[in-house]
């Protein structure tokens, strides 16, 4: 989805605003919203890919005007609406609410998207020259615009993972190899990138790449 969340390389946002001794949350509602998103993810059984898709679907003007946890509020509302949770009556098919005793194990257990590698061939090996595809899907993708069509080198194979684009569409995990691909700043940014030796490394799935 080509919208404002894909910010890499944009100009005009101004200097970085830092805050000394920043608290973890700036208001109680942020703290509640953060925790609510966990509870919703467990009960509705959604995942990060769906959550990110909803954040990216927020209209660009609203996205830029909203604080971080306001975006989370809107994304959670969208997920709840999609699952009919906001409708009158008790929704069916939800997992029981997470209990306080389950919180620690849930956080420690994580939610890895790594999948078995058996039978899934790697198309590339470290050192291979690749080109990131020039693709512009209207759905969720993790290939930023600034790398599309650009030539890089495979720096590492991170193993097999479920594929965010497919999962966010509801088309299943489509497991495939995930690579770290190194691009030079000059390739990505032309003349403006020629300031010293600079590389930008992105983690890209097999389906984003072609041999160079």
């Amino acid at each position: 989805m080509n919208t404002v969340h894909d910010m890499g390389g944009m100009d005009g946002f101004g200097p970085i605003q830092r805050e000394a001794d920043e608290p973890v949350f700036h208001a109680d509602w942020e703290r509640r919203m953060f925790a609510l998103s966990f509870g919703i993810a467990v009960s509705v059984q959604t995942d990060d890919d769906h959550f990110r898709r909803e954040v990216e679907s927020i209209p660009p003007v609203t996205y830029l005007k909203s604080s971080y946890y306001e975006l989370w509020y809107r994304a959670c509302q969208a997920i709840l609406a999609r699952h009919g949770v906001l409708d009158a009556g008790k929704p069916l098919g939800l997992v029981p609410a997470l209990t306080a005793a389950q919180v620690g194990p849930m956080i420690e257990g994580g939610a890895s998207t790594r999948m078995p590698a058996e039978g899934i061939a790697a198309r590339f090996t470290v050192g291979d020259a690749v080109v990131a595809r020039n693709m512009n899907p209207t759905g969720h993708t993790r290939l930023p615009r600034y790398a599309r069509g650009k030539r890089g080198v495979i720096r590492a194979n991170r193993g097999v993972f479920s594929f965010a684009d497919s999962k966010a569409r509801g088309d299943g995990p489509a497991p495939q190899h995930l690579y770290t691909v190194a691009f030079t700043a000059a390739v990505l940014w032309g003349h403006e990138g020629r300031t010293g030796q600079t590389k930008i490394c992105l983690d890209l799935w097999d389906a984003y790449l072609d041999p160079a």
């Binding site: 605003q17 973890v24 420690e108 939610a111 010293g196």
Partner: protein
């Protein structure tokens, strides 16, 4: 989204109808009440989640990892070859740290991490990210003008130092292993951990 055209200074009559709270505050409260009523979330669990990230999970965890790596060459090797397992040796694991990679700063290479698409960050070792990390200025500029970004943080790298920016676009979460500062000589592991800053582990500060 929060409609507060008059900033923080409210005339008394603004409170008369009980509507002086920012809209987002009342909306989140209403959402929580609704989800509790429907049995989708449990308030005690919500408290536990927030408290965990306020008290137990934060950059002091990462600092302990760095201090161990500075003190124990064998641990450092394990950290650089299988960061997830090495970090778990110290008890840190889980959400947003399931697949970790640690990148080492050296005199020749400086690393920094960003997530241009959202806010990916290695929670088990660094906690939740600061606002600036999630902000448009950092996300937009870190990949195009990383040396300019570092300059805003007061970091100037030698021209010959390679800069490597890790854009966390997928399932890997990165942490920077900063160079051990000269002031580290003769210190024990706990003292070393006190020298390690969050920004040093993001790569926007030198120690």
């Amino acid at each position: 989204m929060a409609k507060q055209p008059h900033g923080h200074h409210h005339a008394p009559h603004d409170h008369a109808e009980g509507s002086a709270l920012p809209e987002i505050v009342t909306r989140v409260r209403a959402l929580e009440d609704l989800l509790v009523e429907k049995g989708i979330v449990d308030r005690a669990a919500l408290d536990r989640i927030a408290e965990t990230y306020e008290t137990a999970i934060g950059p002091r965890n990462g600092a302990r990892v760095v201090a161990r790596a500075w003190s124990d060459p064998a641990y450092k090797q394990r950290l650089l070859s299988d960061a997830t397992a090495a970090i778990a040796e110290l008890g840190y694991r889980g959400l947003q740290g399931e697949n970790m990679v640690v990148v080492e700063n050296t005199p020749d290479v400086h690393n920094m991490i960003v997530c241009t698409l959202c806010s990916c960050y290695p929670w088990p070792v660094l906690g939740l990210p600061p606002v600036w990390y999630k902000s448009a200025p950092y996300r937009s500029r870190s990949v195009k003008d990383p040396r300019g970004v570092l300059a805003e943080f007061g970091v100037t790298l030698p021209a010959e130092t390679e800069l490597c920016v890790w854009d966390s676009t997928a399932e890997i979460r990165y942490m920077v292993l900063p160079m051990r500062p000269a002031s580290a000589a003769g210190r024990n592991e706990a003292e070393l951990a006190a020298l390690v800053t969050r920004d040093g582990m993001i790569g926007t500060a030198l120690l």
